[in-house]
């Protein structure tokens, strides 16, 4: 139902103050798919996501949406095509779910235009898709972590963008709520064709839910492609500095990364087995 948009980064260099966080990075987000960015802590993956959504002006290079540089596009116009859910959004004290989700309509409203039926529809649809309709009148600060995250996603949905960027949407959630959120995002992608780009911490969830996986190490693109191509034992070792074994996940058929630490290992070590110099 949506037209596909192309989002790409070209020779992107990003940093804060004197510190360069991402260097000369090129990437293409496949339209209509779910792209997951993974990488070690402080490798620049959140910074990358911020820049893709215009929050951070690049030092060098550019982010291009449908052939136009995002940092030169009018803010509201961009916000009608591309939505972002930051890692820790702030809910004003006492705000109700409905009020919060309504804020998502901001880019569709002019200074003097009134709230209209289209806005109502968008908000109702967003609440329904995230199964938060029953929570509409509750204050956001009274909700559980999982409910709250669904509400924030509802706000981003009310924005009705064809592209949705999310920075670690599953942090602070327990296992079942993590799956719930990721299933919800997959539904969106499958039913509406929304292009989704998200940063995830958990490699195995990333492998499970990504159509396209991007591994970032030290501010550079290390590997990109289907999870099975990207999540190899060598790549995981290079990106995370973690000894590991990758097997096929019996549930999904996707790769499953098994970390190998110093304790509780009954297998022979990779290094001993393969004679790989470290």
């Amino acid at each position: 139902m949506t037209t596909s948009h192309t989002l790409a980064a070209e020779d992107l260099t990003l940093g804060y103050g004197d510190r360069v966080v991402v260097e000369s990075l090129d990437l293409v987000v496949p339209p209509g798919r779910i792209t997951v960015i993974v990488g070690a802590n402080a490798c620049g993956k959140s910074t990358l996501l911020r820049s893709l959504s215009r929050l951070l002006v690049p030092r060098r290079g550019r982010v291009v949406l449908d052939g136009r540089e995002v940092h030169r596009m009018p803010a509201k116009e961009l916000a009608r095509t591309l939505g972002l859910l930051p890692q820790s959004p702030i809910a004003p004290e006492g705000i109700t779910v409905l009020d919060l989700v309504c804020r998502g309509r901001h880019p569709h409203q002019g200074v003097f235009s009134r709230w209209n039926a289209k806005d109502d529809e968008a908000v109702a649809a967003a609440l329904e898709a995230t199964r938060t309709t029953d929570l509409a009148d509750r204050p956001v600060d009274e909700l559980s972590g999982g409910q709250r995250q669904r509400v924030w996603i509802a706000m981003a949905l009310a924005q009705q963008t064809d592209l949705l960027l999310l920075d670690e949407p599953t942090t602070f959630l327990d296992a079942s709520h993590q799956i719930e959120v990721l299933d919800l995002l997959t539904d969106l992608n499958r039913t509406r064709g929304t292009t989704i780009v998200m940063v995830l911490h958990d490699l195995n969830l990333a492998a499970r839910y990504a159509d396209h996986l991007i591994a970032v190490a030290g501010g550079r693109l290390h590997a990109a492609g289907a999870p099975a191509e990207v999540l190899t034992e060598e790549n995981v070792r290079a990106v995370f500095g973690l000894d590991n074994r990758v097997i096929e996940d019996p549930v999904s058929g996707r790769p499953l990364v098994l970390p190998i630490g110093r304790h509780h290992v009954i297998l022979e070590r990779q290094g001993e087995r393969g004679g790989c110099a470290t």
Binding site: S53, R54, A75, G83, G94, P107
Partner: protein, 321 residues
């Protein structure tokens, strides 16, 4: 919100009619329409009308300015009267009156310039990779303390006549209000009020955090700059006319939020609450006690406990400010 507006109008009417002598609505209306009514023309037309007008205008300006800061910095403590902007205006006015013998419009102009100057200074000192609310508040409180001691010093040098005049700049007072004070405040409100109100949605979006606001298509830095300039302007003009009426800017936003919930834009409700606060406090200050107290003393008595309550509560909640 309609109720609030009605209350403001009602209180405005009451403060025109009631006083040491009561005038019926017909007399008050006649005076407003320019007819001569013996006694009322002077008392209502010259004394009460400008005073009540300034009460409404200053209240609106303080309420709007205060809630803008509180919204933008996402902290109820971030009101201009806490972070030194009002103190800046007061200190400049006190110096102008006592040290240089200025009066009237010169003092007002000086106060406005000083308020803007202090706002810039606090913003500048707090700036480091963007502005963080807490840092700005703490710096503002520090600056405010410095300015208050400047005021105390200046006043200790003052002779008695100047002292009277300068005291107005410490607590805020509507005593002896004339149209000269009302007009600049009115103009400021007519220019800056609509500017702020037209940015209401952007300000509401800013409460979700800078990143979320930007993701919703708000140009965060520009929106913040416009809001700060407009809010400081309002506060400065109102302070120049009526003195820093204590805590009105600080109280109006939270009261409006309590009354209306935090869903919609709080700008206009906070302005109305401000107007109502000043009207009621001024009326109470004049007639509720044996001595006449300036309006700022009354609002101060209301505001100070709330300030303490806020600090205690954030502390209990484990928050740092």
């Amino acid at each position: 919100m309609l109720t609030l507006a009605v209350l403001v109008v009602a209180m405005f009417a009451v403060s025109l009619m009631a006083g040491h002598r009561f005038y019926p609505p017909s007399d008050v209306l006649a005076v407003i329409l320019g007819e001569r009514v013996p006694g009322a023309t002077f008392t209502v037309g010259r004394l009460r009308l400008p005073r009540a007008c300034l009460a409404v205008l200053a209240g609106l300006a303080f309420g709007l300015g205060g809630v803008t800061f509180q919204t933008m910095l996402r902290n109820p403590l971030a009101s201009p009267d806490i972070i030194g902007i009002s103190s800046g205006a007061s200190a400049a006015a006190a110096i102008g009156i006592v040290s240089f013998g200025l009066d009237g419009p010169e003092v007002s102009a000086l106060a406005i310039v000083a308020a803007l100057g202090v706002a810039l200074l606090v913003y500048g000192l707090a700036f480091k990779d963007g502005v963080v609310g807490t840092r700005l508040i703490l710096i503002g409180i520090g600056i405010s303390a410095i300015l208050d001691s400047v005021i105390s010093y200046v006043l200790s040098q003052a002779d008695e006549w100047d002292l009277q005049e300068a005291m107005r700049w410490l607590t805020g007072s509507l005593n002896g209000t004339t149209w000269t004070e009302v007009v600049p405040t009115l103009i400021a409100l007519l220019v800056l009020g609509p500017l702020l109100l037209s940015r209401g949605r952007e300000l509401s979006a800013l409460r979700l955090g800078d990143d979320t606001a930007a993701a919703l298509g708000v140009r965060v830095d520009r929106a913040r700059l416009v809001a700060i300039v407009a809010a400081v302007g309002l506060i400065a003009f109102a302070t120049a006319a009526a003195g820093p009426i204590a805590f009105v800017a600080f109280l109006s936003g939270p009261i409006a939020a309590r009354l209306l919930g935090t869903g919609g834009s709080l700008l206009l409700p906070a302005g109305l609450v401000g107007a109502l606060l000043v009207l009621v406090a001024d009326f109470a200050g004049q007639f509720a006690f044996d001595t006449r107290y300036p309006v700022g003393v009354v609002t101060g008595v209301l505001g100070a406990p709330y300030l303490v309550y806020l600090i205690v509560r954030t502390h209990r909640a484990g928050g740092s400010l």
